[in-house]
Symmetry: C2
Subunit: 229 residues, 2 copies
């Protein structure tokens, strides 16, 4: 039984990767760089997007907003005059806990790919399954809030291991927490040695410049990644 289950899962992930490549081809055709933004619920993905979407000179941003249901985050971003496409995962189930390549594929016709340079896909808040499904992104960014504790890289290693940037958010709360930042960073390096990280506070704006700079430099880094493939 165990081997059968592994086979089914591998087939499903192979199928997902095939569709992810088709998404990627569509994004590449229009020169759109794509970020898959992931975190636990309430870690601050939307707040960190709100901080930068209107402050990226020369970069037209679009957002694909993944939620189980509702459009609360999409409404927040739309109020900043950013093109937002809502993708709900609830039809046919209590709600999928992640985006996969096929769900993103279903949204591609609705995306204004010719009018944007950077597409941010805000995934469902969850530290497990989103990490398992590529959706056609160039880079994965994950947000880890200091309120979640130092042990999270050890408990959810795939998420921390498969991202190109970790945003350590809510650092304005550090004086009020029993959170050992050095220990968190050691745990992070234990599962993903040297992964780029930025300490940020969406609330106060601390560190947001570095997050914006990372996004601005992303297309150049992406060229390097493509060249190295």
């Amino acid at each position: 039984m165990h081997r059968v289950k592994v086979r089914v899962v591998e087939d499903a992930l192979d199928a997902n990767n095939t569709i992810a490549r088709a998404n990627r081809a569509d994004f590449d055709r229009d020169g759109v760089t794509v970020v898959n933004l992931m975190s636990a619920p309430g870690a601050g993905k939307t707040a960190l997007l709100e901080r930068v979407v209107n402050d990226l000179p020369g970069v037209r941003v679009g957002v694909l907003e993944g939620d189980v249901q509702g459009s609360y985050d999409a409404d927040r971003l739309a109020s900043l005059h950013v093109p937002v496409t809502q993708l709900n995962t609830d039809p046919g189930f209590g709600g999928e806990c992640h985006l996969d390549a096929n769900m993103v594929r279903s949204a591609v016709p609705a995306l204004p790919l010719r009018e944007i340079d950077l597409l941010v896909i805000e995934n469902v808040g969850n530290l497990v399954c989103p990490a398992e499904f590529r959706v056609g992104e160039d880079a994965r960014v994950m947000v880890s809030s200091v309120t979640e504790g130092e042990d999270k890289p050890l408990k959810y290693p795939l998420m921390f291991r498969t991202c190109e940037l970790v945003l350590v958010n809510k650092i304005d709360l550090l004086p009020h927490l029993d959170f050992d930042l050095d220990r968190f960073l050691r745990n992070l390096d234990a599962v993903h040695p040297g992964v780029p990280r930025r300490l940020v506070s969406a609330r106060t704006g601390e560190g947001v410049d570095a997050w914006r700079d990372w996004l601005l430099e992303l297309p150049a880094r992406r060229e390097g990644w493509v060249g190295a493939q």
Copy 2:
């Protein structure tokens, strides 16, 4: 395609419920009351357990610890001399994001059911899928941290709707957050009107007495539930 998917999901949930009833029969045979404890990652499930497991007069507690991998929380609780059984969800996949009845069933032989009165099943940190799978519990308790924002009941309604108690944790941080507690409670009542809730801080101990009292009164409430069925 859509209808086929719904059918498959319904069959899977039916099968899960059948196994959950078998688990429940085993728990009932030994007079064990069972709580399914759920939350987002880092909301404080383990910390809230640590606060009460040695302070429930006349109630012998056991814990079934669900994690994708590792035994960090189990080790914390075992150091308090509580019998802890570890259940990892990673074999055969990148890691299941929830416990289901069959996973719990596989752990039943390892549980010291004759030596405990209360079994707390600490689920995987996730606000989506754990809510979809009954595991044989008498009651569901969810922890929602004030650091996660006021919108969580609206974004993850199934989780908030299917629990018997909501622990609103980390209230010691309220002075340092832009968190509108009244708005959160209004959102909670919008998805689950009148659900019992306790405001707690695992860090300072505030409200922990009320959480402990709720657990102590659980067997009596459970008799009432069973009688009403």
